[in-house]
Structure formats: structure tokens, C-alpha cells
């Protein structure tokens, strides 16, 4: 009896969690105006892709999709390049002040990113980067979280392995490429999805640095579209589907890695 009750609660909670997402898909397939009715319809009377066609043909959503894809991929590549080398060095290489620098970095985690936003905007404006892809990518270059994630994982690489390679006369760069990188594989995937999802979903920073609508990412474009099309529920739901679906699919495919990163990142260093 208790078991049945618990199962029912579990199913109900699951339904509540995914209902808005499922309904979004259903409404996105309705004809314009169909969703503005009471009681709200659950399924389209006749499924149509008209809203999607409208978004691509007139609202320029293809352009925003491209921007989001390009920026998220770019941020991922940059973040991997900067954070992986640093994370490995903090775990396995010795240099003066290493532990003190690492503690200072962890300390920076208490400062909310928004504190840096205003001067960063001025700095990028000075460099002529405002309203370019570069402005969106700059904060993605290196992150304390990324360095921390890689460091925690790299700590488990046996020193003996690195020593042996050094004895054989391998240089540090070669050791990194041939031995360390392959061993770090799983955490690279983790960092990659975190960065990709983070950049894809980011809103406040792209909203601030991108003024030209040609450069908008999907969330910025969607926020601006939703102000123009407050009444067009079906169209907005189609826009939401296009914004959510890519990252949701990415997450579903690589869940294991994402959850791993979430747990490492949440444990105090």
C-alpha cells in the first residue's frame, strides 16, 4: 500500500516536472490562435509546422541558431584549451606559489560574476569588442570551476607514470599530450558539456554585449521576440522548442558526464 502511494507520488512529480516541456511541444504544433482558448487545448487539432516555418522564414531564427551553435562551440574549445592545461598543472606540476594561487582562485568563487560585468563591458568597449562574437567568448576563456574540475580529476593520475616518462626523456608538453590528455578523457567531456550548456543558456551577458540583432543568441532573440509577440503563444512555443531541444538532447545523450561534473563541482575543495 505504502509502495503504491510512493510510486504514485513519484509519477505525479515526474508529470509536473516534464508537463510544461511536453505541452510546449504540443502548442508549438498548433495553428496560430488555437492555444488562446479556454480550456487550453492539450493536443493540436491538426499538427502543423507552420510556426517553425514562420520562425525560419521571417523571424531569422536560423541566424540565431547558428550564432548560438557557433558561440557555444567556440566557448567549449577555448575553455578546454585554457582550463585543462591549468588544472593539470595545479594537480601535478610544482611551481612557486602554486597552492596559494589555487586558494586565491577558489576564494574568487564567492564573488558573483555580475560584479565584474560593468568594468568588463567598458574594457571590451575600449578594445572594440562590444557587439562582436569575441565579447561573448571572453568570459569563457578560463574559469575557476573548470580548473577545479580538471584538477580534482588529475590528482588521481599516478606520479610514477609521469616520472617514468620523464626518466625516458620525454618533455613536459609531450607527457601532457601523450599520457595526461588520454587519461583525462572523461573529465574533458564533462567540462565540454558544462561549458556548452552554460554558454547556450547564458542570458544576461550576451544581452549586455550584443546590441546588433544579427549577432543575438537564441535566448536573447527569444526574449526580444516574446516582447513583440506576446499574443502569439504557438509561435513562441516553437521558438522555445528550438532553444531547448538541442541542449536537452545533448544532456540526455551525455547525462553520466554531466552529473559527474555536478558532483565534483559541488564538493568543497
Amino acid at each position: 500500500m505504502k509502495k503504491i502511494l510512493l510510486n504514485a507520488v513519484m509519477a505525479l512529480a515526474g508529470l509536473l516536472a516534464v508537463f510544461p516541456l511536453v505541452w510546449m511541444v504540443a502548442v508549438s504544433l498548433m495553428r496560430p490562435g488555437e492555444a488562446s482558448a479556454f480550456p487550453p487545448p492539450l493536443v493540436p487539432a491538426e499538427a502543423t509546422l507552420a510556426n517553425y516555418r514562420e520562425l525560419f522564414a521571417h523571424a531569422g531564427i536560423g541566424r540565431y541558431l547558428f550564432n548560438s551553435l557557433l558561440l557555444s562551440t567556440g566557448a567549449t574549445v577555448l575553455s578546454l584549451a585554457f582550463n585543462v592545461t591549468a588544472g593539470y598543472a595545479f594537480a601535478k606540476l610544482r611551481f612557486r606559489g602554486r597552492d596559494r594561487i589555487f586558494r586565491a582562485l577558489l576564494g574568487a568563487l564567492v564573488v558573483p560574476a555580475q560584479v565584474a560585468m560593468l568594468p568588463l563591458f567598458l574594457l571590451l568597449k575600449h578594445l572594440g569588442l562590444v557587439n562582436t562574437y569575441g565579447a561573448v567568448l571572453v568570459p569563457a576563456l578560463a574559469s575557476v570551476f573548470g580548473i577545479f574540475l580538471v584538477r580534482q580529476y588529475a590528482l588521481s593520475i599516478p606520479d610514477a607514470l609521469l616520472e617514468a616518462a620523464r626518466m625516458d626523456g620525454a618533455g613536459e608538453w609531450r607527457i601532457f599530450r601523450a599520457i595526461v590528455l588520454p587519461l583525462l578523457g572523461p573529465i574533458l567531456v564533462t567540462l565540454a558539456i558544462f561549458t556548452f550548456l552554460g554558454t547556450w543558456n547564458d542570458f544576461m551577458w550576451p544581452l549586455i554585449v550584443l546590441t546588433d540583432s544579427e549577432l543575438y543568441t537564441l535566448p536573447v532573440a527569444l526574449a526580444s521576440l516574446s516582447r513583440e509577440h506576446v499574443q502569439d503563444n504557438e509561435l513562441m512555443m516553437a521558438g522555445a522548442v528550438l532553444t531547448i531541444a538541442p541542449v536537452l538532447l545533448l544532456f540526455l545523450g551525455l547525462q553520466r558526464y554531466y552529473i559527474q561534473g555536478l558532483l565534483v563541482g559541488s564538493v568543497k575543495g
Binding site: A17, W23, V110, L118, P219, M236, A240, T243, V247
Partner: protein, 298 residues
Amino acid sequence: MRAGGTKINPHGAAWCFVAPALLAIGVFFFLPVLAALAMSLTDFDIYALADLGNLRFVGLRNYVELLQTPLFWQALGNTFYFVIVGVPLSIAASLGAALLLNARVTGLKALFRTAYFAPVVTSLVAVAVIWRYVLHTRYGMLNYALSWFGIGPIDWLGDPDWAMPAIILFAVWKNFGYNMIILLAGLQSIPRDLYEAADLDGAGTWAAFRWVTWPMLGPTLLMVSILSMSGYFQLFAEPYVMTQGGPVQSTVSVLYFMYEQGFKWWNLGVASAVAFVLFAIMFAITLLQLRVAKGIDA
């Protein structure tokens, strides 16, 4: 592990590995944070943006003026409302979901875990757009569901008394899966024999939760509450997309206020001061939480 070995490492090589990341974080984070502190002591506005010669040092004037600005107090109040109601609700939902998933009641655990987590990875703007529709006064699903219970339509986003609760409801839905995963890992690390011992002592479900689960989960709950608190203080996109701060400024948050001061009116000095006030509050509350937790432990 550290005592052994990595002695022959030349310092030079190590620096080549860390320098790019440190440089990036230094130039694009540490430097701007310091600059923000300096900027908050100036009258940086649209004239200074055009010509730095117009910039003047004003000491703490921005901070004093903020304290005399009613909208700033309103934003502070709204943000505290969001944090004080939202964080406990969100953690309660996370804990409930984690306990359900840990209870091994169904074989479909992985499926449910994914379903509960799905909202976390969605784009906030997109789901805010969906929820604006779910909360619609006339055509919204929520009011339709309430009508089954004889509750008349509520103007969720248009009534100053309901706008913040609606945003909290949305935020709890969006975020509970995140803490759920962390709490689930915490639950799974509690040794089984503690429960067996409790069982032998004749403890029921509630007693086992009260005397085993709750204290063993303590450190995880503390961490989760600190993380959630800092996340919830950064309320911005929800009011930006769903209400534009309205109705009658009931959903203007501190960051929304900062955004408008900084990037709409170009009062960058004032906006920097707002950022620092927010930072100071978040920092103080984190310290307080750690202090209280230590007090409970001792």
C-alpha cells in the same frame, strides 16, 4: 601524495601550463572586480562614458544615495522575498525528490531522475516564456487546473501580490533537480548499517529520518543551501522575461535594478555600488550560515 616525487619539474614548463588561464582570469575577472570597486566611488555616467575627463571621485556618495532610493529598497525587499521563500521551498522539493529516488520504490528510477532533472538544463528564457503561457490569466493551464477545485482565475503575473509567488513557483520547478542530484549522492553515502541499527532499536520511518538521515545529511544540506542562496540572490532573467519588473515594481530584483541603472541609464558608478552591496549581503549571509552550522555541530 604531494611529498613524493615531482621534483625534477622545471618551473618554466609549469608556468607555460597555467599562465594563459591565470592571465585570462586576472584580466577579465580580478581586474574588473577591482575596477568595479573603484568605479562605485565615482560618478561614472553617460558623460564619463563619452569622455573620461568628466569622471569625478565622489567617495561613498553612491552608496548613501542608494540608501535613499525607494526603488533600491524595494528591489532589496523583493530579492529577499525571493530568497527567503524560494530557497527553503526549493530545498524541500529537492530533498523530497531525492528521498523518493533513494527509496527504491520503482524500477524506473533512472527515468524519473532524468525527468526531475530535465528543467535544470533548459534555457531559462525559453522556459520563462513557456511559464508565462502556463500562468496566463485567461488561457493558462494553471488557472484551468485551479478551476477544477472551484478556485477563480488568478492574474498571476499582473497582480502585485501574486507576481513574486508565481516567479518563485517557476524557479522551484526549474531548479529543484540540481540540488536533488547532490542530496541523492549524500543519501547514498550514508552507511546502510546505521539504518539496520536504527531498525533493531525499533525506529520507524520517521525516527530513522530524524536521527540518521537528517544529521548524516547535514553537511550536504549546508552546502546545498549556500549554493542555492547565492544562486537565488542573482535573480534577473525571470523578471526580465516574465514581468519586466512589474506590476508596480513588485518583481524588480537587485540585479534587475543594477542592469537598468547600468545599461539602460548608463549610471555605471551607481550600478557598481549596487553590485557591491549585493556581494556584501551574499558574503555576510554565507558567513552567518557557516557560523550557525558550526554552532550546531559543537
